[in-house]
């Protein structure tokens, strides 16, 4: 990806890049050929645990498996996105996977895999109610990706009482 096109992208504005130190993300995009990188997978696993707390299975093993399944579905979801959306997502995720980006955009001091659900939830609320549009946009994107990917799988439906489509 070209530096110039990166800087033009919409989701994460120049302001956030400045906040977070643009150079770092140029070296580490969040997607590699449309696939989640290893840090991106860890990011979404952490976000999944926090956003879906109360919905995920309670047993540690079932819970880990459910989160893992969601990460796989996010990987598929990312591949289905058109190039300009992939580029934005790659930039957002890349930023969040750097320490300055995590701090600047999400306001989270601890790295994603080590942060508690409560810490991640507080960071999410910081973005959600921020006066900076770019932080709100980032929150809404993460909320949509996590919720959408999680509930696209049939095994998650029973917890919300959805029986699945009528057999025909």
């Amino acid at each position: 990806m070209q530096r110039r096109s990166l800087l033009k992208l919409g989701l994460v504005s120049g302001v956030a890049l400045a906040l977070a130190g643009g150079a770092a993300v140029l070296l580490r995009p969040g997607l590699d050929n449309g696939r989640l990188t290893a840090p991106a997978r860890a990011l979404f696993a952490s976000l999944g645990r926090a956003i879906l707390q109360g919905t995920l299975p309670t047993g540690p093993q079932d819970r880990a498996q459910a989160v893992q399944g969601m990460v796989e579905r996010i990987d598929t979801l990312a591949q289905n996105l058109p190039p300009h959306v992939q580029a934005e997502l790659s930039q957002l995720v890349g930023l969040l996977c750097t320490a300055p980006g995590r701090l600047g955009l999400a306001g989270l001091a601890t790295d994603w895999p080590d942060a508690t659900d409560a810490q991640v939830q507080a960071a999410l609320d910081g973005m959600r109610f921020s006066s900076l549009a770019v932080r709100q946009q980032a929150y809404l994107a993460l909320h949509e990706i996590v919720g959408g990917a999680y509930f696209s799988e049939e095994s998650t439906w029973s917890v919300v009482g959805y029986p699945g489509p009528m057999a025909i």
Binding site: A50, G54, T55, Q86, M166
Partner: protein
């Protein structure tokens, strides 16, 4: 796989000319009478009429050809395969999510079947402000009638599902008139899965009606093929340059094809059609191209009832009320139409605000959740100029739609109206879909809270499924992009035949407005191209 006959697979077996994707390599060049960009509402009607008139037609569709055998009623499959940008298309500032089809049949393959003729006040506004003298209801009614007959648009006589009946009962309680919505279905199973492609072929979308008719008459369909630009010279379009795309829309060294035609019809929907003209650098002396794009911005209110609602089941959107459109002037504060959408897990989980236990608590009540939506009627007031389609650096289309205070004032009134109606229908709690709202347990509490909510973009959830405008019809050159006959004001062998020609929003779900108005435009075009009286729809 469903056990239903699949008219598309049957047609392919009969030898329909379909190329692109797995159907066969694109030829370097195709010559025809008329090239049509898109295969949705406007494209389908045009393709059928021109093919019946004996014209040689090529249809160019960016999305895939999917049919009833593929439609398994799963959001996980439907959004990536059938929708623009996997169902995640957004305005430039990400404040509005847009559901728009991207497959053969366009949005008609995935819409919820709601069918309304263009409302009289809307047409009167077009006559008065855009010089469209011949757009009276009396003049258009025969064309609506033909389209309704062709697509089996009929009153829906089956009792509404609970999600819709709650709208009816709440309106009754408040003394507000409501009515049933006509639907374009034949033998509908009431599965509630219209948005994921109809697995029984009951929905009379373009996919199972006009496109098959055109293909039976010899039309060629190019799928997974994007119309990039018209090649302009001598004040005319000479050819249409197209490129093969991957399922996600990426080009990645895809094959190119050039379609040479006498006439070109753009019908790729009201974001993509203006974008084709922008990429083509079509003349735009009055700066109208891509402007005045309207969305019917939608806000929503989620209620929890004591009883089961099961909003996933039964025909979606069968009851509506226009009370909040009809009780105020069309060019005053923005009015809204109320309807009840279908509910499925992905759309619900991504729509309901919040995270963690709060979100989990909302989702746990899914079977008892009832949702109303308000379609805001944009484009009738000086402070409602809609959005603007522009091109990104890679040539893809982006829609900038500022959610102004004028629009958001309507959004607040809509949240109030929906909450009041939902409490009247027996709701235990009502959640206006807004990041700073919570479930309220009485109308008084909800009213007080909604009056204080900051009605700001990115805090208020706003979505859209109706994209209109950007290539507006007008009776004078300075006011629009296309003439009243649908032909481009400056390029006389290019027409626009889709929702992008509407000078304002419609003020109702737009599919029948597109069918009816394009029916007239396409009959006129067929007559001009053949010199013979036009055939009617089958």
């Amino acid at each position: 796989m469903s056990n239903f006959p699949d008219p598309i697979r049957d047609g392919l077996q009969r030898g329909w000319k379909v190329l692109g994707g797995a159907h066969g390599a694109l030829p370097e060049k195709i010559t025809c009478d008329v090239a049509i960009v898109g295969s949705g509402a406007g494209a389908g009607i045009t393709a059928e009429l021109l093919s019946r008139a004996g014209l040689n037609v090529v249809i160019v569709e960016e999305g895939p050809l999917k049919s009833s055998s593929d439609f398994r009623q799963r959001e996980s499959e439907a959004y990536p395969a059938l929708y623009q940008e996997s169902g995640s298309r957004k305005t430039t500032d990400k404040a509005i999510s847009i559901l728009q089809g991207r497959c053969v049949g366009g949005s008609t393959t995935v819409n919820w079947t709601s069918s309304f003729r263009t409302p009289v006040p809307t047409l009167q506004h077009w006559q008065q402000h855009f010089g469209l003298d011949d757009f009276s209801r009396a003049a258009l009614d025969p064309y609506f009638e033909q389209a309704e007959r062709r697509l089996n648009v009929t009153p829906w006589l089956v009792p509404p599902n609970e999600n819709n009946d709650l709208l009816r009962r709440g309106a009754d309680k408040l003394g507000i008139p409501s009515a049933a919505i006509a639907r374009n279905v034949k033998g509908c199973w009431s599965l509630g899965s219209c948005g994921m492609g109809c697995p029984t072929n009951a929905k009379q979308s373009m996919l199972v009606t006009t496109i098959p008719e055109a293909l039976d008459k010899g039309a060629t369909l190019l799928v997974e093929t994007r119309a990039e630009q018209l090649v302009m010279s001598g004040g005319k379009a000479q050819a249409l340059r197209c490129v093969a795309v991957q399922p996600n829309g990426a080009v990645q060294g895809g094959a190119h094809t050039t379609v040479v035609a006498r006439h070109f019809v753009l019908a790729g929907g009201a974001i993509n059609s203006p974008a084709v003209l922008l990429r083509s650098k079509a003349p735009d002396p009055h700066g109208r191209l891509g402007t005045r794009t309207f969305l019917h911005p939608v806000v929503m209110s989620a209620a929890v009832l004591e009883q089961k609602v099961e909003g996933w089941s039964g025909a979606p959107q069968t009851i509506y009320t226009d009370h909040f459109l009809e009780t105020q002037p069309i060019d005053g504060p923005i009015g809204f139409k109320l309807e009840a959408p279908p509910l499925h897990p992905v759309i619900l989980a991504t729509t309901l605000p919040g995270h963690g236990q709060t979100h989990a608590d909302l989702l746990a009540k899914f079977p008892r959740t009832h949702v109303l939506l308000a379609l805001l009627r944009d484009g009738f007031h000086a402070q409602s100029q809609g959005g603007r389609v522009q091109l990104r650096g890679d040539g893809s289309a982006a829609l900038d739609y500022p959610l102004t205070d004028f629009v958001m004032d309507g959004a607040r009134r809509a949240l109030l109206a929906m909450a009041e109606l939902q409490f009247a229908s027996g709701a235990q709690e009502v959640l206006p879909v807004h990041e700073m709202a919570r479930p309220y347990t009485s109308w008084a509490q909800a009213r007080a809270a909604i009056e204080q909510l900051p009605m700001k973009p990115l805090l208020t959830k706003v979505v859209s499924a109706h994209v209109m405008g950007g290539c507006g019809l007008a009776g004078t050159e300075a006011l629009g992009v296309v003439r009243p006959d649908g032909v481009h004001w400056q390029v006389d062998n290019v027409s626009v035949h889709d929702g992008s020609i509407f000078p304002t929003s419609v003020g109702a779900n737009p599919q029948l407005s597109i069918y009816g108005i394009v029916n007239r435009l396409a009959q006129g075009l067929a007559q001009r191209l053949t010199g013979a009286p036009a055939q009617m729809l089958a």
